[in-house]
């Protein structure tokens, strides 16, 4: 706005570049999603040929169920990564909420299940708000702040629970049913995860809030110049990520038999793996919720395929690591190729 008046020629060049980069990013997202679907289809075909029961409804349901909690957290992580930040504390947040909600229902079963769920969501949002405040108000880089809260939140769970195990029989069956019930034959966590994915895909794609998040991630300076409060958007992203961790924590608490203070330890890496595999740019500003969810599903499918094919389970981690490396390498090569061809097209 207050910059120098650009010459007509350079302005048109800049417009072309902007149009090119928008087209370019959309193209990249589409290539990534198509790539993930192709990889998924390839795995399905190969595994089904070897073991037809892979395609049975019960097995597909099992895959999606095992992925659902991870996918919810991955959606939250996607929001944060969009804004050029990262939340390493997600696993600790999920574990904290899972344990606290169970603890609450065991010691005060009379507060009722809806209140316990609300408490879980609220705690999640609060944990996210602490992260967001440290980053935006405190000026602490996200990777440092959330590495710190990874330790602190996990320490808090241990402080609350000690080494104590809360078994399934100690909480009301109604709470367990949140994860174990199957309306229309579909396990509830899958429905919840699908709803979360759809809502946030819509939010990011078609609402002002979503477009602003993209803007903040692509160029914080430019976003600031057009009058966006970058800090507020980043804060909101962290709070929403915390809220989704709270939701995932409630489901975690409902789904698993016995829970101790170590619940969900280490899933931050799986979550970030799903997000990266899904094509969300770790430097912000590009990617889709759909991609992140597909990334989570791909990881879950690989895991399931190893079980079905009775392959060594110990390969799983190595394969997910290799998948991340392959995905980013392919990204880099495709980006280079596409950018080159775009430059050629713009010159004509």
């Amino acid at each position: 706005m207050t910059t120098l008046q650009p010459s007509a020629q350079s302005r048109s060049a800049r417009l072309a570049a902007v149009a090119g980069s928008g087209q370019f990013l959309r193209l990249l997202a589409r290539i990534r999603e198509a790539g993930l679907l192709i990889a998924l289809a390839a795995i399905v075909v190969i595994v089904t040929v070897q073991a037809p029961r892979f395609l049975q409804i019960s097995n597909l349901r099992q895959i999606l169920l095992s992925v659902s909690i991870l996918a919810i957290v991955a959606v939250g992580q996607t929001l944060v990564v969009f804004t050029r930040n990262v939340d390493l504390s997600v696993a600790s947040s999920v574990g904290l909420v899972a344990y606290v909600v169970r603890d609450l229902l065991r010691d005060h079963p009379d507060i009722g299940i809806p209140a316990a769920i609300a408490a879980g969501l609220l705690i999640g949002a609060l944990l996210g708000a602490i992260n967001g405040a440290l980053v935006t108000i405190g000026g602490v880089p996200a990777i440092v702040a959330t590495l710190g809260t990874l330790y602190v939140y996990r320490g808090v769970v241990f402080a609350i629970g000690g080494g104590e195990l809360i078994t399934a029989s100690e909480v009301p069956q109604g709470f367990r049913d949140i994860a174990l019930s199957r309306p229309w034959g579909i396990p509830t966590p899958i429905i919840v995860a699908a709803a979360v994915a759809l809502v946030f895909a819509y939010l990011l794609r078609s609402t002002r809030f979503g477009r602003e998040l993209y803007a903040v991630g692509s160029s914080p300076e430019a976003a600031r110049l057009v009058g966006l409060s970058v800090g507020r958007r980043v804060f909101t992203a962290f709070v929403l990520c915390g809220l989704l961790c709270g939701l995932a924590g409630v489901l975690w608490g409902a789904r698993f038999g016995s829970i101790d203070a170590r619940a969900a330890t280490g899933i931050e890496l799986q979550v970030i793996a799903a997000v990266v595999l899904g094509g969300v740019n770790i430097f912000g500003g590009s990617g889709t919720v759909l991609g992140a969810v597909l990334g989570a599903i791909l990881l879950g499918t690989i895991q399931n395929a190893l079980i079905i094919l009775r392959l060594n389970q110990f390969w799983l981690q190595a394969i997910s690591g290799a998948a991340i490396l392959l995905a980013v390498t392919a990204d880099a090569l495709i980006t280079r190729r596409v950018r080159r061809s775009l430059v050629v097209r713009l010159r004509r």
Binding site: L134, G139, G148, V152, R154, F235, V276, A318, G321, L325
Partner: protein, 331 residues
């Protein structure tokens, strides 16, 4: 530079305060055996922290160090089980570590991928390979001489052998970083890679070398860990990367590169180890340790930021307040 010096003074003061608290609250704190316990349990992380400091100063990060250590540990165990002589097992582990670092470095420097993502991938990959090698078995029939290296002391003193591995390494890295052209190029690269490249710094080769060294030293740490717990398991040293990075950042190294000293990292390693030790001596609940370490890490960045902002709020310090406002907007 003065600001950094002040940060190290703060850390030294923190260390002194921790010692005072330790002496006041526990009878065993000052015993030689307690010090050797603190030292020997920190040495693996300390060895990994040396190259990590250099890598972060150079503007990159290596999340795969603990997995590399785990893989090296698995290699030592597996090859020892296969009847190889011990020296060959150790050399093989170090070579595997170098290969791990080389892969990281090649992906980062040749393909231009972000090190955060690359080493996150290899974190899973290397740990996965370790568990493919060992499954959930443990190999623990190592010769006594090897395990004595892990938890034994030198003669009658309380000094653990592993400290004797770390100290020369520290001196070498300190000289390398603070007294040679390599260190100066590293700071230049971390501050502004473009400018460094235009000043004839071979940024890619520098970083590639660092990643290889990081792999080798992570493997060395894996060997030390294997000797200390006298067992080779796939989950050895798991999660150490977070402790190592926390120590480096608390030591005053900027996550954005270009700033920090090895002396600060040494102080922060000592402070974290002492803090953990005091908490372990005084209370049964070890969970306080992680709360304390996490808070310390956050405060180490938050504290100076808040101080800067308070100063910036004073009248007549316009430049300061503007930079504070930009920090507030959050990047």
């Amino acid at each position: 530079m003065t600001r950094l010096a002040r940060w190290e003074t703060l850390l030294a003061a923190l260390l002194v305060a921790l010692f005072a608290i330790g002496i006041a609250t526990s009878d065993v704190f000052l015993r030689g055996s307690n010090f050797s316990l603190i030292a020997s349990s920190t040495m693996e992380k300390a060895v990994m922290a040396l190259p990590m400091t250099l890598i972060i100063i150079g503007g990159e990060i290596d999340l795969s160090v603990a997995s590399t250590a785990g893989l090296a540990s698995a290699v030592v165990g597996k090859s020892w089980e296969a009847g190889w002589p011990l020296w060959l097992c150790l050399v093989t582990a170090l070579v595997v570590g170098a290969a791990c670092g080389l892969l990281n470095g090649l992906l980062v420097t040749r393909l231009g991928l972000p090190s955060l993502v690359v080493t996150l991938g290899t974190l899973a990959l290397y740990r996965g390979l370790a568990s493919v090698l060992l499954a959930d078995s443990a190999i623990s029939n190592f010769p006594a001489g090897f395990t004595r290296f892990g938890f034994g002391k030198i003669g009658g003193t309380g000094i653990p052998w592993t400290l004797l591995v770390f100290l020369p390494l520290f001196v070498i890295f300190d000289v390398l970083l603070h007294a040679t052209w390599i260190g100066r190029q590293l700071y230049a690269t971390g501050t502004n890679p473009e400018a460094a490249r235009f000043s004839a710094v071979r940024v890619a080769n520098l970083k590639l070398g660092l990643f290889v060294i990081s792999g080798v030293l992570a493997a060395l740490a894996g060997i030390m860990y294997t000797a200390r717990v006298s067992s080779s398991r796939a989950d050895n040293a798991i999660g150490f990367e977070l402790d190592v990075i926390a120590a480096v950042l608390l030591g005053g190294v900027s996550i954005f590169g270009g700033r920090g000293t090895l002396f600060g990292v040494l102080l922060s390693l000592a402070a974290i180890a002492t803090l953990r030790n005091i908490l372990a001596l005084n209370s049964s609940n070890a969970e306080l340790q992680s709360i304390a370490v996490g808070s310390l890490l956050i405060l180490s960045v938050l504290g100076p930021n808040l101080v800067r902002r308070l100063r910036g709020a004073q009248p007549g310090r316009l430049a300061g307040s503007r930079s504070a406002r930009m920090a507030e907007a959050g990047d």
